[in-house]
Structures are given as C-alpha cells and as structure tokens.
C-alpha cells in the first residue's frame, strides 16, 4: 500500500508524515534550521505563544491542553473527542516548535487522563473572561455575565458555537454570551 496522503487520522497519530516528522522536515529544508537550546523551559515558552485556534485569546497552555513537557517530547490531550481544533492545535504546536528551532521535539497526543476544565489555568480563566467568554463554573453555581458582571443570567442553549461552550444571555445588560462549560 503506497498511501502518502495526509489524512487527519494519520496526522493526529504523528505517523511520521508531513509536519509531525522532524526528519521529513529536515529533508524538505535544504538549509539548516536554527537550533534552540532552551530545554524544557524554552519549550514551555514557545507553547505559551501558541493560541487556541477557536479561542485565540488563550494559549494551549492556558487551556490545559499541554499535559507534559520534556526536553524532547511534548504531550498534549484533546479537549473534546470530536473537537475539530485538535488537529490544528497539533499542527500549530509543531510549526511553532520548528520555527523556534525545536525540530527534534516530538509532539504526541494522549487521551487519558481525560481533559477537564479544571486544568484551565487561573490566567486562562481571566483571559477568557476578558475576551467575553464566561469561564467554567460548577453546575448550579451563578454564571456571571462577562460584559457587565451581573449574575442575573439564563441559559439559552446547551450548546454554543462550539461543543465546549453553551449559549447564555444576561438579563441585566441584555447581551448574549458564551459560557465555557464545566467539563
């Protein structure tokens, strides 16, 4: 079987195709890429600059998508099983690492333990709020409108623009807003 297509599933598994593979990348670049020597801290620094493709106000680190970093391996986890951003995130991380010279650092995806909104960092929660998305709160707790700060809010729809958000409205300022669902 001579299958050289970049199907999403192959990309996701990082089977040595395209951007997931440093060796292929090296072949594709006749000139040497810069080499970075920042180690783990340097890799974290790069990851903090990679925005989530759906909510660009927060980084993949803020969202708790990055589970671990070593000098040669970044482990990430998808938010939702069917989240279409998962592939884009892996690609963006690969590109950012390559651009910063971390060509030999692999990116792998782990499903377990399952991602939870508890892993969103305090900075991430603050950034979501500032961006106009209410950060997750436990079921039954008051949802605060990110526009005007009122707690007089009501759910409109259990699913919002993406699977990870539900749609709410504020009764005080009459604005609709997204709530990042507790997951």
């Amino acid at each position: 079987m001579n299958d050289v297509t970049l199907s999403p599933s192959r990309l996701r598994e990082g089977l040595g195709v395209g951007l997931s593979s440093p060796s292929k990348l090296e072949q594709a670049h006749p000139r040497p890429l810069p080499q970075a020597g920042g180690g783990e801290n340097g890799v974290w620094e790069v990851l903090r600059s990679v925005p989530d493709p759906e909510v660009p106000a927060v980084s993949v680190v803020d969202l708790g998508i990055v589970r671990s970093v070593t000098a040669d391996l970044v482990t990430i986890t998808p938010t939702y099983t069917g989240c279409p951003a998962t592939e884009v995130i892996e690609r963006d991380i690969r590109a950012a690492l390559d651009a910063a010279g971390y060509r030999k650092v692999r990116v792998e995806t782990a499903l377990s333990p399952a991602w939870t909104t508890d892993w969103i960092t305090p900075e991430g929660r603050a950034k979501l709020h500032a961006y106009g998305i209410a950060p997750p709160v436990p079921r039954g707790a008051a949802v605060v409108c990110p526009q005007c700060g009122s707690s007089d809010t009501a759910e409109i729809s259990r699913f919002g623009s993406t699977a990870c958000k539900s749609l709410w409205r504020c009764r005080s300022c009459a604005e609709p807003f997204d709530l990042f669902k507790c997951h």
């Binding site: 199907s7 192959r10 939702y80 099983t81 069917g82 989240c83 729809s157 259990r158 669902k181």
Partner: protein, 281 residues
C-alpha cells in the same frame, strides 16, 4: 460488493424459531484473532452511523440552537468513531485506518446496532432515538473505563462526559415534548414507539461480546438493563408517556443484517470517497 452468505438448512431451521437475526454466525470460527477488532468495530460503527444521522439535521433543525446541539453531538460521535475505527484498523494490521473502514465497507460489513440507523423522522423521533441510545451508551462507557484494552478504556473515560451531556439534553426534550402540547405528546409517543423495537438488541450478548467479555475488553450488556429500565422509566413517567410493552426483538445489526435505511445512509456518506478514491481534504 460481497455476496450474502449461503443459506444452510440448519440456519433456515434456526431462523424459523429464533428471533430475527439470531441465526448461526458463519464468521465466528474466524473471529478468534479478531475479537478486539470486532469489539472496536461495533463501538465505532454505533458512533459513526448515529453521528452521520445527526449530521443530516444540519441546517434543517427547528431552531438555530437545536441545530447547534445536533451538530455538536454529531461531532462528539464522529470523534468517538474516529478513535475506535482507527484502533480497529491498527489491531487488524491490514493497513486500514478509520477513514478506510468508514468509507470503503459495504452495508453487510457494518456492525452497528439497528437503533442508530433508524431514520430521523421528525424532531421527536430523533430525540427518542438519542435518548434511548445515549442512556445506554453512558451506562456502557461507565463500565468500559475498566476495559483491559487501553484504547477502549481511554475513549470511554473521555467520551462518557460528553455522552452524559447528550443523555441529559435528549431526556429534557423527551420530557418537554411528551409533557407539551397534544401534538408534541403524540409525536413523542410515536417516536418512542418507532425506536422501542430496537432496544433489546442493545443488551444482546453473542459470540463476539462473550469472547470480548472473557478477555476483559468488554462488559456484560445484560447487566446494564435494570439501570437502563429505571432511568428510561423515570424520564418517560415525567414526560407523561407510557413505557411501551415488550415486543418481539429485532436483532442482527451486529452481524451485518441491517434495515433498508442503512444502505441509503451509506450512499450519501460514502459517495465522495468512493467516486474519487484519492480525494483528501
């Protein structure tokens, strides 16, 4: 297109007495090495077919909020299917991935339960199907977290949170429509009535499920039934609906005996990758 297996006299005799679809299973002798493959295939096919069905609503739902809900549930299910079917392909070792299994198998090779391939009908029928399936899938995934297969366990652990949401959302609609107007009540009664025939299959244990259970990959489906009945009974009661009486069970989806509806679904789903086999995004 594979041809149907030959009908042997003993199969015919068994089919006359047993419920539809419980006849002898020719492939069982070849299954031994493929227990994991078949288990992953069943899990993946359930999610794939229901995901495709829900996708049919996109742009047609009663309101934009409902449209989003159905599309997002479809996305969760397709995500499950991708993981399960990619895993199935890997365990098979024949170079097939999730896309190959989804788009290049014929209807006789699909192992989903009959419930998920039932037509959408009206919104009430869709929600009746979703409620019965998600209630079952949640109970199933809660147990599969303990599977001896790390992929099944990881997907179950991850997806059970999403399925909980599907179950709550569909239960709310069953109650809202059942305990709504005269017309919405009638439609939800019809929806549950249509889907109820396919409930017994969800709890069927056959050769593949038994073998998977023995290996610790799977769980005893019959043990889920009391909890399922309790949850469904409570929701239908709140929805002012009767729990339908026992019916002659219709089985066979797990062994490739499907209703006419699945072929039509596959025609739409598989058209592009089969017409242009090398097409990629």
């Amino acid at each position: 297109m594979p041809s149907l297996p030959p009908i042997r006299p003993e199969d015919e005799a068994a089919a006359r007495t047993a419920p539809h679809g419980t006849g002898a299973f020719d492939a069982v002798a070849e299954l031994e090495p493929g227990i994991l493959f078949n288990t992953l295939l069943r899990l993946g096919d359930d999610s794939l077919i229901l995901g495709q069905r829900l996708g049919e609503w996109t742009g047609h739902a009663p309101s934009v909020e409902v449209d989003l809900s159905l599309a997002n549930m479809a996305l969760d299910l397709i995500g499950q299917a991708t993981l399960f079917l990619d895993g199935a392909g890997k365990s098979e070792g024949q170079g097939r991935d999730g896309d190959k299994l989804a788009f290049h198998r014929d209807v006789l090779d699909f192992t989903n339960c009959l419930l998920v391939e039932q037509p959408n009908g009206d919104f009430a029928q869709t929600m009746a199907r979703q409620f019965l399936f998600s209630t079952w899938q949640k109970l199933l995934f809660e147990r599969l977290i303990a599977s001896s297969d790390s992929l099944i366990a990881a997907v179950a652990e991850k997806a059970v949170k999403e399925v909980t949401y599907h179950q709550e959302l569909s239960a709310e609609w069953v109650i809202r429509l059942g305990d709504g107007t005269e017309e919405s009540h009638r439609r939800m009664t019809d929806g549950i009535g249509w889907m109820w025939r396919f409930v017994p299959e969800l709890f069927e244990m056959d050769e593949v499920a038994d073998a998977a259970l023995t290996r610790g990959l799977f769980t005893d489906l019959t043990a889920l039934r009391p909890e399922f009945d309790r949850i469904v009974g409570a929701v239908l009661s709140e929805a002012m609906l009767e729990v339908p009486g026992d019916q002659r069970p219709i089985l066979g989806g797990r062994r490739g005996h499907h209703s006419e509806h699945l072929g039509h679904l596959l025609c739409t789903m598989q058209y592009l990758p089969r017409t242009y086999p090398d097409a990629v995004w």
